[in-house]
Symmetry: C2
Subunit: 248 residues, 2 copies
């Protein structure tokens, strides 16, 4: 639909290795469509939507409690969202993959509720909400979209709570792998295998497990022929059994 593969004059020196998600598969696309960004020279003022900014591995996109002025879509790469803890290790609260939005939750309170850091060399599109009225487009539609997104987020988190709290390590990890796989598949970013760009420690932190446990379960799954592992690459070999495990 709204393809921008040409006509983008930014970020030519993008060093990201990862494939880019197609605009039509991107979570920001509905809003881009409203803004009529399919036309390279639409009447929309400059600076509302900044496309394809490079973010290097380890770089911070924004920090918790920073003022919310924009939200992002992942064009390529991946990110982790985390709540910095004072005395402890950071608590990871989510991962953002290609095509997914980042930071919309900040719209509600006016501040980002978590920090976000790139897991690999990545790129993002950024939408500045404060300048949206200038576009002459309806803020109402964006609001509707945000309500929908927040609703989905709430639903997802409730599922997550429901499952995390009651599930064993194997169930959590099976569910995690399937979740990542499906999210990438949905954006047409999954070949046969997918790359888990986050560390075992990150996965464990997110799922409430020790990194050793993550490692152990990974090898156990591989030994049972459920998946094939090569460092950060994963190939699912028995989807049905993995689903059965994750659903307890």
């Amino acid at each position: 639909m709204a393809s921008i593969q040409s006509g983008c004059n930014r970020c030519d020196k993008l060093t990201a290795r990862g494939r880019e998600v197609e605009c039509e598969d991107c979570g920001l696309d509905p809003i881009c469509a409203v803004l009529e960004y399919s036309e390279p020279e639409s009447g929309v003022p400059e600076g509302i939507l900044v496309r394809r900014q490079a973010v290097k591995r380890g770089e911070t996109l924004f920090r918790r409690d920073q003022k919310f002025i924009s939200f992002f879509a992942v064009k390529s790469g991946s990110f982790k969202a985390f709540v910095p803890q004072q005395d402890e290790l950071d608590q990871i609260v989510g991962f953002h993959l290609a095509g997914e939005l980042i930071g919309t939750e900040g719209m509600a309170s006016g501040h980002y509720p978590y920090s976000v850091r790139a897991l690999e060399n990545s790129s993002v599109c950024e939408l500045f909400l404060d300048r949206l009225p200038e576009s002459g487009k309806a803020l109402d539609e964006v609001q509707q979209a945000v309500i929908k997104l927040l609703g989905q987020e709430v639903a997802f988190n409730r599922e997550l709570i429901a499952s995390l709290v009651h599930q064993s390590a194997e169930q959590r990890i099976a569910g995690f792998i399937l979740d990542i796989f499906r999210r990438l598949e949905r954006r047409k970013m999954a070949e046969q295998g997918v790359t888990l760009t986050m560390s075992r420690g990150d996965i464990g932190n997110y799922l409430g497990l020790a990194s050793e446990t993550v490692s152990r379960v990974f090898t156990k799954f591989q030994n049972r022929g459920l998946l094939k592992l090569d460092h950060k690459m994963v190939w699912i070999q028995d989807l049905a059994v993995l689903e059965a495990i994750s659903k307890q």
Copy 2:
């Protein structure tokens, strides 16, 4: 502000024992204010806001996947929200106390994402969104309010995930008691002690613990002089230590 203690011609035969939350302490109050419900004979059409409906203990307010047409505020009593599981026990995803809203998450998807059942004889106010345009009031303001609420919900759930997943039984239970206490206090519904209207099993289900563990930790806390228990009543005796425990 918008007090309705008189002029309400409904539910005189309300059997709820519980004290009612004051309108000024109710989560629906901002919306009631917009609707100018403070005036007994405002121009607002009948049937948009239905006040103080009795809900008997064990009665279901709405079921998961039912079409969203309205949301509720708890006027008195308490409710549990749960996702019915096919083969297993239901998964409890939250509790709703006096003054709190129920069902706003359904606004996003158009369907309630969970079922809600009364834990005791209770009463609710119900706001029908489909008839709101008739009121001539701005749907926009309600939308803003909903975005804010959903944002808070997301933030709360993320905190919950962050904590639940890594915390021990004692930490979870200390946090749970403090959460309930503060929520009731905020609505001016906490005397010295509060009533935990849900069963030990419900608490355990919600926190991902066996009911026996909940029971054990309760007695342990009592023996340490952190709180006093009398069946479902709880008096907090050492807030500081409970906080210290919950914060790990």
